[in-house]
């Protein structure tokens, strides 16, 4: 493959002999907030995974992909971490049926580069291509098409799992459904996903037909979304969360679908399925903390809002530009400096629009700078015990850490979300109170039972699991 995603250097070795191999590494999530030290090792084969799980240190093991979870899901202080990005590639393809079986460490970037020239696309993509298939399942990620297509787990035909007890299981919605749905959204804690079969979306081109419009406030934005989201496969809104008063919740709504061949101009029609995005810039290794503050974000937001067209229809955009603009900036998470940031994402059911407004007012009142505030509507939920999406509104915000007030503010947001019958997203979370999380996910006990059966000794564990008392 022409351009591989950046990966941490890692020891790449088949384990032999006694003990748990690997190198000591300080690992953190994408938000870079709570680093911990673990032994990192890259299994090369299924047998390696089996041996490493069997030889797990006292503090257990967890699988790690590209480290795009914002919090502590893919780290395991004092224990072992399996770097799954050493196991990549399409293992089997049945393009007549639109299905591929891929190794869990395959990134969506690699998958798209393989699929698009063949006229297929991943069923769900988040805001970055730099996630692995294993991570996509473990976090049951969603994209701009959730209101129509559901989350990643809805498109997994089956997967193979190495459990903490050492069993290798094949599961799907029909076969061992409990294991399957505990793994979809299970944050990697039911076992190590080895590979998965994904159902694909046929596309004619690697281009998107996009409509964009500005909304002057939150009511305007939400009513536009409710009125016409159903007409689009993809829909997402960016919100200026520093706007206050009458402009609270003003934003830019972007919606679209894959462009058919006849929508392309002569220049693109020669290679309609060409897909080779490249990073545009790389963030310096050291950026001072505090660069992202209420003033810099206010300037950015004002420009971003004004730059957006009041209304534009049928604009042709590349897949990378439409879905993954931040992949153009390598290591954009470093912009927040060494203190890092938390991403706060919640969903509240339909009818709880006031909770979204309340949350935005609280944040804008506190002057907390969020570069990225993204609003979208979720469609129906799937049977995943811990799967995040439920029908309703989801808002995601990036907040720089370093102030002592942030914790109390986020606790207040949790209460608002809970009161509305909503929940926060574990793939983003790094600080929710364990008791509140349990109230947000009523099927947690059921999930814990499945996990306990698969792994009675608790071999598969992570910092997230320890933090939440699992």
């Amino acid at each position: 493959m022409s351009s591989e995603p950046p990966r941490p250097e890692r020891p790449c070795a088949s384990p032999t002999g006694e003990g748990f191999p690997g190198d000591d590494r300080l690992l953190c999530g994408w938000g870079r907030t709570s680093p911990s030290r673990a032994r990192l090792v890259a299994p090369l084969t299924d047998d390696d995974v089996a041996r490493l799980v069997a030889a797990a240190p006292a503090r257990g093991v967890v699988a790690r992909g590209l480290g795009r979870s914002y919090g502590d899901a893919a780290q395991n202080a004092g224990g072992g971490v399996l770097d799954m990005t050493s196991r990549r590639g399409v293992l089997e393809a049945d393009l007549a049926r639109g299905e591929v079986r891929v190794a869990a460490g395959t990134s969506l970037d690699e998958l798209m580069r393989w699929l698009l020239p063949r006229g297929w696309f991943v069923p769900v993509t988040p805001g970055t291509r730099m996630v692995t298939v294993g991570g996509a399942i473990a976090a049951d990620i969603h994209g701009k098409n959730h209101h129509r297509d559901g989350s990643f787990g809805d498109h997994v035909a089956g997967l193979r799992l190495r459990t903490g007890a050492g069993e290798e299981l094949t599961c799907s919605p029909a076969e061992l459904p409990d294991v399957f749905w505990a793994t979809v959204g299970g944050m990697g804690l039911t076992g190590v996903i080895l590979d998965a079969t994904i159902r694909l979306l046929p596309v004619e081109t690697a281009w998107m037909l996009v409509d964009a419009e500005r909304a002057r406030d939150l009511d305007d934005l939400m009513s536009r979304m409710e009125a016409r989201d159903a007409e689009y496969r993809y829909s997402v809104a960016w919100i200026d969360c520093l706007a206050r008063g009458g402009s609270l919740g003003r934003g830019v709504l972007t919606r679209g679908d894959h462009a058919p061949l006849d929508a392309l101009g002569p220049a693109q029609r020669d290679r309609p399925l060409h897909f080779d995005p490249r990073p545009v810039v790389t963030t310096p290794q050291a950026v001072p903390s505090g660069l992202v503050n209420r003033w810099s974000v206010r300037v950015f937001n004002e420009l971003w809002y004004r730059k957006a067209p009041r209304e534009r229809r049928g604009h042709l955009e590349s897949i990378a530009y439409f879905f993954h603009p931040l992949d153009g900036v390598v290591g954009w998470n470093r912009l927040y400096g060494r203190r890092g940031f938390v991403q706060y994402q919640f969903v509240v059911p339909p009818g709880a629009e006031d909770s979204v407004r309340h949350a935005l007012a609280l944040l804008s009142g506190a002057g907390l700078a969020s570069f990225l505030a993204v609003l979208k509507r979720f469609g129906r939920r799937n049977p995943g015990h811990l799967s995040f999406p439920i029908p309703g509104w989801t808002l995601a915000l990036d907040l720089p850490t370093g102030s002592v007030e942030l914790g109390a503010l986020l606790d207040r947001l949790d209460e608002i979300v809970l009161a509305a019958g909503g929940r926060v997203y574990l793939a983003k979370d790094a600080r929710v109170h364990p008791a509140r999380l349990a109230r947000m996910y009523p099927r947690l006990a059921e999930w814990a039972e499945v996990r306990a059966k698969l792994d009675p000794a608790g071999v598969i564990t992570s910092d997230l699991a320890r933090r939440l008392g699992w």
């Binding site: 680093p35 502590d72 395991n76 202080a77 203190r339 600080r431 320890r466 933090r467």
Partner: protein, 254 residues
């Protein structure tokens, strides 16, 4: 386990009746994530009283343990005990200290050795096994109370200052050593704080109280600092003072 905002689930306070230690502990507990607290000190009755103060309906489970900084032979066993539980030790606050009458330390070698034994030797002796355990768990935070007295010796308390200077230097080196281990160490240099340790003494300029020190510590932890001055202005005062020529410094009414 710490959360992303540094809130710990379990805390060990060494010097379990120290005003500074307890103020810091209470400030950290305000985040509401702590389930387990161990208060360690010499006086069981005073520890129990402090534990009762911390208890509440949503409060953490508080355990009291006997700890004597001078009993260096017992420190390994003490650390083995406090780290024996299933959970991690997320935050250690080292707040014990002995502030002697300066002139006594100049006349009584026992008192001089005792001052150095509590403030320096005893602290290092318990930190070594604690840090070993925390490195093994791959994460954790240690807050060590040094003193502004460590920055430049002055006539009024140089035996105490010398011991704190030793501890401060050791901790700075250790903090650098810990980079990459998941464990971090924060050195706190309070100025004159109104506590029972300083009761009856004449307050120095920029005197502060335990809650203000606790606030400075928590802010330091949040921003990832390695050194915290309390009050923060002391950093600039001391950087001036430390460069004064000796004959001038000696004549200052400090």
């Amino acid at each position: 386990m710490h959360d992303a905002l540094g809130a710990p689930q379990s805390i060990l306070l060494l010097g379990g009746t120290s005003d500074l230690g307890l103020a810091t502990l209470r400030r950290v507990l305000a985040a509401g994530r702590t389930r387990q607290v161990t208060l360690a000190g010499r006086d069981p009755a005073a520890l129990e009283a402090a534990a009762t103060d911390l208890a509440g309906p949503d409060g953490p489970e508080v355990t009291c343990r006997r700890f004597d900084a001078l009993d260096v032979a017992g420190h390994e066993a003490f650390v083995a005990e406090v780290t024996a539980g299933p959970g991690d030790l997320d935050l250690v606050i080292l707040a014990f200290g002995h502030l002697p009458d300066q002139t006594r330390t100049e006349e009584d070698p026992g008192e001089a050795v005792r001052t150095i034994g509590v403030n320096f030797t005893g602290a290092v002796s318990v930190l070594v096994p604690l840090l070993r355990a925390m490195r093994a768990q791959g994460q954790g935070t240690v807050v060590v109370f040094s003193s502004v007295a460590a920055e430049r010796p002055r006539r009024a308390n140089f035996t105490y200052g010398a011991a704190k200077a030793g501890l401060d230097a050791w901790c700075q080196g250790m903090a650098d050593r810990l980079v990459g281990t998941g464990v971090r160490l924060l050195v706190v240099r309070p100025g004159f704080v109104h506590t029972k340790m300083t009761a009856g003494m004449r307050p120095a300029p920029l005197a502060t109280d335990p809650d203000a020190v606790a606030e400075a510590v928590v802010r330091g932890l949040a921003r990832g600092a390695t050194t915290v001055w309390a009050p923060p202005a002391l950093r600039y005062v001391m950087s001036g003072l430390r460069h004064l020529p000796r004959p001038v410094y000696r004549r200052l009414p400090l």
